[in-house]
Amino acid sequence: MRKSIEDIQEEIISNFELFEDDMESILFYLMDLGKKLPAMSEEHKTEEYIVKGCQSKVWLFPSFVEGKVIFEADSNTEITKGLVSLLVEIWIGQTPDDILNSELFFIEKIGMSRMIGSQRSNGFTSMIKQIKMYALAYKTSQ
């Protein structure tokens, strides 16, 4: 059984709390998270799956399997890849409804905007929008 979106966010928050605002450790942690993200197949890294509005290149390739949304993701920068991996961790294997109804409270709790600055925060918002758009498309296709 997949953990709930709320529970996964709580886990992320408690993981980040360990760093006690040490920015360097947080960024190293994000890069490590990015490295753990399953490799995205090269054939899916096309223009069509680039998330618009990100300063770095971010690819998100969605698929819909047995009523659940699945993602492959990658980025050309390691920190951003870590950020994408947080979204993938929370939303992979969830239903379109759960994705659309979820509220990402972890973003404020871990102090994301202070951590990554406004430009990358905008990019992060673009990733969220993109995933919700895919979820909406799958919901209406059901």
Partner: protein, 422 residues
């Protein structure tokens, strides 16, 4: 010799923590910090002297006009212009170059004429020329570079012809730090009858500037890269050129007489200074120039040269050896580390060093350094054609000013050493 502690005392901004670490400000090629004298001059102007300059009978206006024109005298001496009227105040280098492109270019460029720039130009010395070339049917030509980031002067020779009307050239590259051989460029350009504009944004805080010896036709300067306020720049131009050029913008100050039928224009420099200028910042700019003059360019250059040498050695050492955090070399074998590649290794350089770390995006490097309180610039540095030539999408750039120290470089090298460990 510069007394570094005394200098640093004059820059209050340097004495702060960023992300819990003492600030290390290595983004001076983007903008330098401002000494107290500049900050206080701004404060004094707005608390005591603020009035619109020129054409007023009252005391405050007379005072602010005098201070404003004092800056013009100081910059005239700073660049050794023959005449005061050859120094026009602008918003910065970008506006200075646009002014020349839009006025000189519009009047003097014709179909088939050629404008020569270099491969290492900032976008601000590319786009204004592209715009006017397109409008006038002129052609833009580019001097190529070698892999170290030096101009190929033989290729420059081949580009020159009687069709060349303007050579617009960066004196010092913001991305690479290369000092271009501008004296030679000016002589060669003049030999075919072309005019020369120098983008002095990066050069003027490091190098001696003497427009008469150089014999350049135009020189563009920004105050904020010279310890002064943002929003102020200077365009130097030879009197005969300024007089032959039409005005840039219409408005107050730049006119002699206005009627609905006809307007006659003011003399230079006012012909090019329409509207109320950035009075307070221009006045404060004088204090930045005084700061540089008091220290002396040679002292500044020697200090910065030492810093650059120290940085380059530190970075290269990370490639060669496994260095413990104490800086003691322990092993001399091919280390299991990501390689650092220096970008911009010209023989003649100012204290700017770009580099990349193998397998690491420059954004990530910038963020990791920021987490340690270190400010560098990452990206294409507004030189996309140069980055394309070098096959890069960006670099990490550390750039020094007179207030930087070897201790700060130690902190920087230690932070980078952590990033290059695989």
């Amino acid at each position: 010799m510069v007394e570094i502690n005394k200098i640093r005392e004059q820059f209050p901004i340097l004495h702060q923590k960023v992300n819990g670490k003492p600030l290390v400000y290595f983004d001076n090629a983007a903008t330098t910090q401002k000494p107290l004298s500049v900050i206080e001059a701004l404060n004094t102007y707005y608390t005591k002297d603020n009035a619109n300059i020129h054409r007023a009978a009252h005391t405050l206006a007379a005072r602010s006009t005098e201070m404003f024109e004092d800056t013009r005298k100081t910059i005239q001496a700073f660049i050794n212009a023959r005449e005061l009227e050859e120094c026009i105040f602008t918003k910065g280098v970008t506006e200075s170059i646009n002014l020349v492109a839009q006025t000189w270019g519009r009047k003097f460029l014709q179909v088939g004429d050629e404008v020569v720039i270099t491969c290492m130009e900032h976008h601000s010395n590319i786009v204004p020329w592209q715009m006017i070339c397109e409008e006038k049917g002129a052609i833009l030509k580019v001097i190529p570079i070698n892999d170290s980031g030096e101009l190929l002067m033989d290729e420059f020779d081949k580009l020159l012809s009687p069709k060349t009307k303007m050579v617009a050239c960066v004196w010092v590259s913001n991305a690479l730090g290369t000092i271009n051989p501008v004296k030679e460029i000016i002589e060669k350009a003049h030999a075919v009858g072309a005019k020369v504009l120098l983008d002095g944004a990066q050069a003027c805080s490091h190098l001696d500037v003497d427009v008469q010896t150089l014999d350049c036709d135009f020189l563009a300067i920004s105050s904020h890269k010279l310890y002064g306020p943002t929003g102020v720049g200077v365009l130097y131009g030879k009197r005969e050129l300024f007089e032959a050029m039409p005005p840039y913008q219409g408005g107050g100050e730049m006119i002699k007489e206005v009627s609905f039928e006809r307007t006659s224009y003011n003399e230079i420099p006012y012909k090019f200074e329409a509207g109320t200028p950035n009075i307070g910042d221009v006045i404060a700019f004088k204090y930045a120039l005084d700061f540089v003059n008091e220290l002396g360019k040679e002292n500044i250059r020697n200090h910065e040269k030492e810093l650059l040498h120290y940085l380059v050695n530190g970075l290269l050492r990370l490639n060669e050896t496994d260095v413990m955090s104490s800086g003691v070399e322990t092993h001399h074998y091919a280390s299991p580390q990501k390689t650092i590649t220096l970008i911009g290794t010209a023989k003649e350089k100012v204290s700017v060093q770009s580099f990349i770390i193998e397998g690491m995006h420059h954004f990530d490097v910038g963020m990791m350094l920021d987490a340690r309180g270190i400010a560098v610039r990452t990206g294409h540095h507004c030189t996309q054609p140069l980055m394309n030539r070098l096959g890069l999408d960006g670099t990490v750039r550390a750039s020094f000013s007179v207030y930087n120290t070897k201790e700060e470089i130690d902190v920087f090298i230690e932070a980078v050493s952590k990033l290059v460990k695989k």
